[in-house]
Amino acid sequence: MLCALQGVYDPTVVALTSAFFIGFAGIPGLFISKPGFGQLLATVITIAASLSGFAAALVLLFSQNTTTFAVNWGLPFGPCEISIDPLSAFFLIPVYLVAASGSLFALGYWPAREHPSTEKSLTFFYGILAASMAVLLTARNGVFFLMFWEVMAISAYFLVVTEQSREDVRKAGTVYLIATHTGSAALYALFSLLSAESGSLTFPVAGSLLPYTPAATAILLTAFVGFGAKAGIMPLHTWLPQAHANAPSHVSAIMSGVMLKMGLYGIFRTLTFFHDPPIIWGVVLTVAGILSALFGILFALAQKDLKRLLACSSIENIGIITTSLGVAMLGISSNNRTLAYLGMAGALLHILNHSFFKPLLFFGSGVIIHATGSRDMNLMGGLAKNMPRAALLFLIGSVSICGIPPLNGFVSEFLIYSGFFSQIQASTLVYLVLLAPLLALVGGMALIAFTKLYSSIFLGTPRSYFSTAVHEPGFTMLLPMAFFALLCVLIGLLPYQALRFVNPAINVFMPGTAIPFNPDGYGDVLGKISLTGLSLVALAAVVTLFWRWRMQRAGSTTGSTWGCGYQRGSSRMQYGATSFSELPVSVFNGIVRQDIKRPVLSGLFPGKSLCSDAPTETFLERVIAPLFSLAGVSFAFLRRLQHGRMHVYMIYIFATLFILMLWAH
């Protein structure tokens, strides 16, 4: 079927047409007053368009030649070129997959019947967001790229503030808007610099720019700030937890799973413009990445809001990807093809993986919020008894994100570790091996964070009344989760096959030479991972069957979890989410705190008292907020210009005009 498709239509056109349909899928619904039908129609259109777009992206990923279209758009910014090379095609895969499954998920999670006032705009902007991301991946002109970048940023804003009647949602939206436009400002500078360097606003050919000029450094810096703010690399991440936590869950899924990757795509794309990058670029990316990963997971650990935890873990994963990209750049700089391959493969595969397990987890969080109406993990517990299927799928996501075999997170992290260790016997870059314990620390803390997440939500006994009455989610919500869980398992079990999707995109960075598909035998190791994974699955199956068999023979009694025979246990005796992470978080007291407010107890039988905790946002509170209030104070004089007197406003315009006329002479 794929070949037939290629013969008849150009896949680039197919991909763009799909994006067009996804973008306008929400429009019919705006004019249908009866709730429900428009949403259903949008979902059907989105899924159908995504399937064709996905097929086109696959064809483009593996095709040898790239078609470039020059659109005559009548704007004075040079020709508007559109093309999809393997790198763009690679990033297109998650766009279509997550857009389609999120759209299906929305049917159950945000049904029009229950949310008649917000569903229409939500469906509309969801399509616009997905389509704008697909189009910006195809853009080869700076202005065209920026246009769709803005469409993406603004539509995401409207999605974040879907529940705009809530104060915290509006605040999160504002923070996001400020952060995204700070990034956009850097991107305007980036594309101006690029056009000054290459002579036109069309993207320069890969490897055509010199890296050792001051302009190149400026280009890289602006790209890092602009794209890094979107991706959520550490000093620029402040918008991310609030925005992800307050958006509807399928929106969080597409924002975390796909929109953050657009920032990474920007960094990847900018790096392709240069040949022979200096070693310092790799060092900066690696250091920023590993710090992001470390602090991101640390913040995740301290959260009690389940979606905030997931959002902070996105920062961690973006950090891991950036580290790996930095390692790859070190490899390219030092002409070490093995290192470059391992770093690049690790980064790209982790991008793919993260865009599978993070939407899975955010969908899971949507299921939980839909069932309980809360995001506070301290109030949940025991949900696995009532929704075993959702619990199993959520568990698969959690295990994947922690990088535990036999699931996909392990494969990409394995490649990254291999990169660190590959230079241990070389004369240069030996220090890379020091990154391994840091990444291991990140992995360990991720394990604690996701154990906290899973166990406080799904295990134990219910901690509040609403956790007791939950039920299994419907088919539309389970199917998207199952789809991503299946992808996680497949990549985990067949890592060698997964690498085939990554290799064409790596070629964009190292053009001219054949890819070392199996550098230094690492491919064979991946084959062994596959074997280990399969045997792990088999072992788990055997143990489960044996356990079932034993349970059937033995007969069982039921009691409350952790009751241990004592039937008067109360749910408040178990570890809560906050208390679970109290010790590991306290180690990093200076950086992040859970800020637990304990009641003062007195007497032998103290009365009822409350204990609360609120995780601190150190960076936002200590650095960004003071900076903003400083700016507010130092620019207070400008507020005098805004006084409400209309005629003086006219004088401003008049004065500007007058000065311009004088200046013309």
Partner: protein
Amino acid sequence: MITIADQLLVLVLLINFVVLGTSRLIFSIRAVAVQGVILGVLPALIHPFSWHLVGIISMILVTKGVVIPMMLSRAMRSAEIKREAEPYLGYVPTLLLGAVFTALSFGFAGKLPMLAEHQNYIFVPASMATLMAGFLILTTRRKAISQVIGYLVLENGIFIFGLLLADAMPIMVEAGALLDLLVGTFVMGIVINYISREFASLDTSRLTSLKEE
């Protein structure tokens, strides 16, 4: 022909001073209407006959000569005001400023690099002087209706500039500009009604209470 056009433009400039110097609103409205009519006739004098031109002229005459003045005087009657009582700047200083700006615009236009066929007209200086007069009215008057009048004078100034291009300008642009003006006046009319209902006066200086604290 050129001399007639130039003399009409001088008339337009004089009307600017009339509007700048009078405190009676109904008189300003009529003066601006006359200005609009004169400007409507002008294209007929400088461009050869074409149906496109006829279309433009009739639209301008109807809009600027009839519809907008009617809307404004109705707004004035419903708001029950006759005079601009206390402008921010007195009438004599405004007139003097208007004279200064007119002189300046003649000086400025003399230095602009223009096409040879436009050089003998006083289109560009008249356009700029009218524009500035509009700005002066906008900035010195307090009542919302005066603001609308200022806006109209400002638009007339822009229109004079556009006259130079009437051949090159497609009818859609003209129609768009006229529609813009009509809608602008319409919105202003609504705003005026709301201001007078909300603040029991048409004084735009009361709008400072809408300022963000």
